[in-house]
């Protein structure tokens, strides 16, 4: 399976039709997509899982929310989301298209219509099969897509001990061993039963009776084996739970420290929020009180200038008060006791002074204005300084709040969804799980004994059946066929035993080769006989001794990547094998979201150098920070096609870490605040 072209229309965050042309196998086999977190990397990966299988990865929220919101708003009930994938496999070319329409009928009820279409082109001959799932299943097993399309930061679980069953299943299914097991099982079950039925129909009563007994035993065996399998599944689940508890126990201490740090940061955040509110109130009070003053400086200066000019002209303060002059003229007596006869020169002189005199109110207003303006002039520098200080304090608090917010977010990321339990709670849970495991082991042993007894009984009955059925002609032919099936099963058992062992050894070697390329430490990786992925090192104490390494998250991540890469490589070799006894295999592309995660540079460089070799076709989604430095240097020479995902919306998203991306000397904006509704577009990098 090699991807050629992807068309996405109104699918989740993608508005309108978007196109990606995939880099093809060869020297430049990497398709690189730049996208920051929260704008559609996961959705792009899930466009592939949805179109092929109609499924989403577990980390996709609101999985029924498929049609882009802006498209729904604009087109109402006609809004349609679709994903079309063009790909090829050998001589066959495929076009698969899945679509869904959604109409909002009010806000509560919604209707969904969906469909899928497949077209196959085999050397110019076109067909449109109805059994689409079966065709896709033949190219990539549905239950296995998580090994080819995945989030690099969440793949580390494969390297954990509890995943050995999952790893074993992946190896067997993808490399065809499960099919060989199934062939064996079908021959032993259904096919053998049909021959026995034939024999019984053609035989006497005694033979038929024995056949009925065998059928009854078979039915019991089916029930008991199902019970046995159920117990085994429960044991696996319990082992997983036990591993998680043990991990929690070791993580508990670091989690406690995280929690402590988290609480401190939260307290700091609360204090800062209180301080911000107090500053806001202070600023409001200042604006009410002194705000006008700040804007009246020019006016005050102008008024003072006018008064100063009047003072210079001796117009203010008033030298004569009008009521006093009125009294003198009324009393016809000056303050120097000289008479003021009406019309006399002295009377006229006093009368003339009335033109320059002011009254009491005016005098008081002048005095007040003068005092106020003096006060304003004196206060202004202090008030301005106070305001500047308030603004500076607020800026500082906001900056500290942002810092604390980032710290809280980082701690939350490290803590994940884990809650802290006390050590005694964990110990109690561990004890409970261990008790359940002991119970399960007991029940399993009981069932194994019953199954062994039934098998033994069946063998005896079968021997009697063989002996009786040989006597009759047509029944004898059916018996020979039954015997041939038995011999074939025996050979298949030997082939299976041989292939399971050799394939595991081969895979183990490939995993180690890939691991060594990514990890520069003196460690090696192994796929053990129980299909656990282990990292080991030599410890030289006296004679050389091998020790398991307690893997870090980074080492788990690269071990898991090494496993997937090796699986893809061996699958391709098996597909190309001409030997009809080598079943399974296939050519698979690998699509990785954030394969570099939060790893340090040493691992990043190793992964970047190894990635182009992981599969014939590789699609990588990275954030700007993951792409920088060693990753860019190591991976860029292998990139065939390159795209940038750009966010459009009404505001900067909360999780935004977007910057302008400069690629090959050209600037690409990853964030555009230019739309009423959020959506994402994919641009080709040229």
């Amino acid at each position: 399976m090699i991807f050629e072209r992807l068309l996405i229309k109104n699918f989740r965050p993608f508005y309108g039709e978007q196109e990606i042309l995939f880099a093809q196998p060869g020297q430049y086999n990497v398709t690189l997509i730049h996208a920051e977190n929260g704008i559609g990397k996961t959705s792009l990966l899930n466009a592939l899982t949805w179109v092929l299988f109609g499924e989403f990865s577990d980390d996709v929220e609101q999985q029924t929310d498929i049609v882009n919101h802006r498209a729904v708003r604009e087109e109402d009930d006609k809004a349609e989301a679709s994903v079309t994938l063009h790909f090829r496999n050998g001589d066959y070319k495929y076009l698969i298209r899945r679509h869904v329409t959604r109409s909002e009928q009010g806000k509560r009820s919604m209707s969904l219509n969906s469909g899928v279409y497949l077209q196959i082109d085999h050397l110019g001959e076109y067909s449109e099969p109805k059994n689409i799932d079966e065709h896709i299943q033949g190219l990539m097993p549905k239950e296995m897509w998580g090994y080819f399309f995945f989030n690099g930061e969440r793949i580390d679980h494969l390297a954990m001990e509890s995943s050995h069953k999952k790893v074993s299943e992946a190896v067997k299914v993808i490399l065809g061993l499960r099919l060989l097991e199934q062939t064996r099982s079908d021959l032993k079950g259904q096919v053998s039963k049909e021959f026995r039925d034939q024999i019984a129909r053609l035989s006497d009563a005694d033979t038929q009776k024995i056949k009925q007994e065998i059928d009854q035993i078979d039915q019991k065996l089916v029930d008991k084996r199902a019970g046995h399998q159920e117990i085994e599944d429960n044991e696996v689940a319990l082992q997983k739970r036990k591993a998680a508890i043990l991990e929690d126990l070791s993580l508990n201490e670091s989690m406690r420290l995280f929690q402590q740090e988290f609480s401190e940061r939260e307290r700091a955040q609360t204090n800062l929020n209180e301080r911000r509110e107090a500053l806001r109130l202070e600023i409001v009070a200042w604006l009410n009180r002194s705000g006008p003053m700040a804007f009246s400086e020019a006016l005050v200066q102008k008024a003072r200038k006018i008064i100063e000019e009047k003072r210079t002209r001796r117009e203010v303060p008033f030298r004569y008060r009008a009521p006093l002059l009125d009294d003198l003229l009324h009393d016809a007596l000056c303050i120097c006791d000289r008479p003021l006869e009406e019309g006399s020169p002295a009377w006229q002189a006093v009368k003339a002074l009335l033109g320059q005199a002011g009254d009491d109110a005016l005098e008081e207003a002048y005095m007040t204005a003068n005092a106020t303006m003096q006060s304003i002039t004196q206060q202004l520098p202090n008030e301005s300084n106070r305001f500047r200080q308030l603004i500076a304090d607020r800026t500082k608090v906001l900056s500290e709040l942002r810092q604390v917010g980032e710290e809280i977010s980082q701690i939350k990321h490290k803590m994940g969804d884990r809650a802290i339990e006390t050590g005694s709670d964990l110990a109690a849970r561990l004890e409970e799980v261990e008790k359940d495991l002991r119970d399960m082991a007991g029940k399993r042993a009981e069932l194994s004994t019953v199954i062994s007894a039934l098998v033994s009984c069946r063998e005896k009955r079968e021997a009697e059946f063989d002996k009786l059925s040989r006597r009759e002609g047509a029944a004898a032919l059916a018996q020979r066929r039954l015997q041939a099936v038995g011999e074939t099963i025996s050979i298949i058992d030997t082939i299976l035993e041989h292939q399971v062992r050799r394939v595991r050894e081969y895979l183990s070697h490939e995993i180690d080769t890939a691991f060594q390329r990514m990890c520069r430490k003196d460690y090696w990786a192994e796929l053990t006989e129980d299909y656990t992925l282990r990292v080991r090192k030599h410890v030289r104490v006296g004679d050389a001794e091998i020790r398991d390494v307690s893997k870090s998250t980074g080492e788990n991540q690269i071990t898991s990547l090494a496993f997937i890469g090796s699986l893809v490589k061996v699958a391709q070799e098996r597909e190309q094998s001409k030997n009809s006894f080598v079943l399974g295999g296939g050519t698979f592309p690998v699509v990785m979201d954030s394969p570099f995660g939060s790893l340090d540079n040493e691992y990043r460089q190793g992964i970047a150098e190894w990635l182009p070799t992981v599969a014939p076709q590789v699609v990588v989604l990275v954030t700007g920070s993951q792409w920088q430095g060693v990753v860019d240097e190591a991976l860029a020479p292998k990139v065939g096609n390159e795209y940038v995902m750009a966010y459009h919306g009404p505001k900067v998203p909360k999780v935004s870490n977007m910057t302008r991306l400069i690629l090959h000397g050209k600037e690409y904006e990853q964030l555009r605040v230019d739309a009423e509704y959020e959506y994402t577009r994919i641009e080709e990098v040229k």
Binding site: E134, G138, Q190, E194, F195, A484, I491, Y506, N579, G586
Partner: protein, 61 residues
């Protein structure tokens, strides 16, 4: 490591050759049929019938 796939094929061939000729033929036919459906998860009755028919064809007397 191409050699390993080759080795795997060779050893598998040796195992087959240890069986009587009619079983070898039967086995090859059965697995050739299965190889066509490498990844099919669902076992349809039609496929079981196909396996039975191959046995009937190869063991006919």
């Amino acid at each position: 490591m191409e050699e390993t796939v080759q080795q795997l094929n060779e050893t598998t061939d040796e195992i087959i050759k240890s069986a009587p000729p009619h079983i070898q033929k039967l086995l090859r036919d059965l697995l050739r049929e299965e190889r066509r459906y490498s990844h099919m998860a669902v076992r349809e009755q039609g496929r079981i019938d196909k396996l039975r028919q191959i046995v009937e064809r190869e063991i006919s007397e």
